[in-house]
């Protein structure tokens, strides 16, 4: 029975992906990609990777979807030229087929080694969720670099503003009818989203959740609030904004260096304080991730009416 369920799920995943790649029309591809994220999240749930399912649901089905929808809308309004050049379809199909076959073959050829024993070292990490332990303790350097990757992407997106728009607020000038359902939704959702996001960060230490998932939910809240015109889009020059962006990576880096100052290894957390240290780092990271992700989605500074 579980096999039937998994087969059906995988068939849906593949079908939706095929539709996103092969179907005509960009909008259709975008919508199929959004549903794709949803099915993959269910797939992760089936695999028992609940933290990944959460990340995929929040990012794959949520934020990436908004990002692509907004971009599609902009391209449509620009009436951009999509005249297609002939593409090397056959060689692309061969490359794709070859890599799929190679990976499929590898699956049956892979030995099954014993993975590193996370459970044994878990008591010294200060957290009960092994995924959080890996992210914030065992492989903290990855997570630190990753939070900086987000920042680099945001800087890159900011650099795409026109010079004349540089001092304008970021993203589109969202507006909504003050007594309309959108504004109502925008007022109703943030309290729930905010508490849920904070819950995810706090709960992530012991069960499903974590800074990235919580940060993504909070980014969604920020986006809804902006779209409902409850939150003004910031400008690049705002000091508070920049402080929020660097807070997480900064706290993470400095706490790692503090360990060096105390004569321990870089990024090490002594078991006695690990739990509180991780919560502080995660709280700071969550703020930065939420702000960075929301700003990544709304895009660079733009002046809707240039020349005014």
């Amino acid at each position: 029975m579980t096999l039937a369920l998994d087969l059906a799920l995988c068939a849906l995943i593949l079908g939706v992906a095929l539709a996103a790649v092969a179907g005509a029309g960009v909008f259709r591809a975008v919508i199929f990609f959004i549903t794709y994220g949803l099915f993959v999240a269910i797939g992760w749930a089936r695999l028992g990777a609940y933290d990944v399912a959460l990340a995929e649901a929040a990012i794959g089905a949520g934020l990436t979807g908004v990002l692509l929808l907004a971009a599609h809308g902009r391209l449509r309004r620009m009436q951009a030229d999509t005249t297609e050049r002939r593409s090397p379809t056959l060689s692309a199909a061969l490359a794709g087929g070859a890599i799929a076959l190679a990976l499929g073959w590898a699956w049956f050829a892979l030995p099954a080694p014993q993975p590193p024993d996370v459970a044994q070292a878990l008591p010294q990490t200060g957290v009960g969720n092994p995924v959080t332990a890996v992210l914030l303790n065992f492989r903290a350097w990855d997570t630190l670099l990753e939070s900086i990757v987000l920042l680099a992407a945001l800087l890159g997106v900011w650099m795409l503003a026109r010079d004349a728009d540089w001092n304008a607020p970021l993203g589109p000038r969202y507006h909504a009818r003050p007594d309309g359902v959108l504004a109502y939704f925008g007022r109703f959702l943030p309290p729930i989203g905010l508490s849920f996001g904070v819950y995810l960060v706090w709960a992530g230490a012991e069960s499903v959740g974590g800074a990235f998932q919580g940060g993504t939910v909070l980014a969604g809240v920020v986006l809804v609030a902006m779209m409902a015109q409850l939150l003004r889009p910031p400008r690049v020059s705002q000091a508070m904004l920049r402080a929020a962006l660097v807070l997480g990576p900064g706290v993470f880096l400095l706490s790692g260096l503090a360990a060096v100052g105390l004569g321990r290894e870089f990024l090490s957390l002594s078991p006695a304080i690990a739990k509180s240290a991780i919560l502080i780092i995660e709280a700071a990271l969550t703020i930065s991730i939420a702000v960075t992700l929301a700003l990544l989605v709304i895009g660079p500074a733009e002046d809707p009416e240039p020349g005014r």
Binding site: V181, F188, L189
Partner: protein, 96 residues
Amino acid sequence: MIFDLATYVLTALGLVFFTAGTVGLIRFPDTFSRLHALTKADNLGLGFIALGVAFQVESLAQIATLALIWALALLAAGTVAQLVARAALTTSQEDE
């Protein structure tokens, strides 16, 4: 035992509503009637599924979460349906 029975009945009902919604989505002739049929059906469907599953929970917090999920889905679906209908009204067109 009686709880299990409730789960069977309620989830089955939920499934029926979801199916009805999908059939409406496929069969109804125009965007607005599809929209209309859809929002009713999937909200009820999700509600029955959540209610059915609620008879299996281990703690009150889980019931609260289920209720929250349903409330959120209701609110989101209502808002979105209204907005999409408006958007379709003002900009409705064959796409691509």
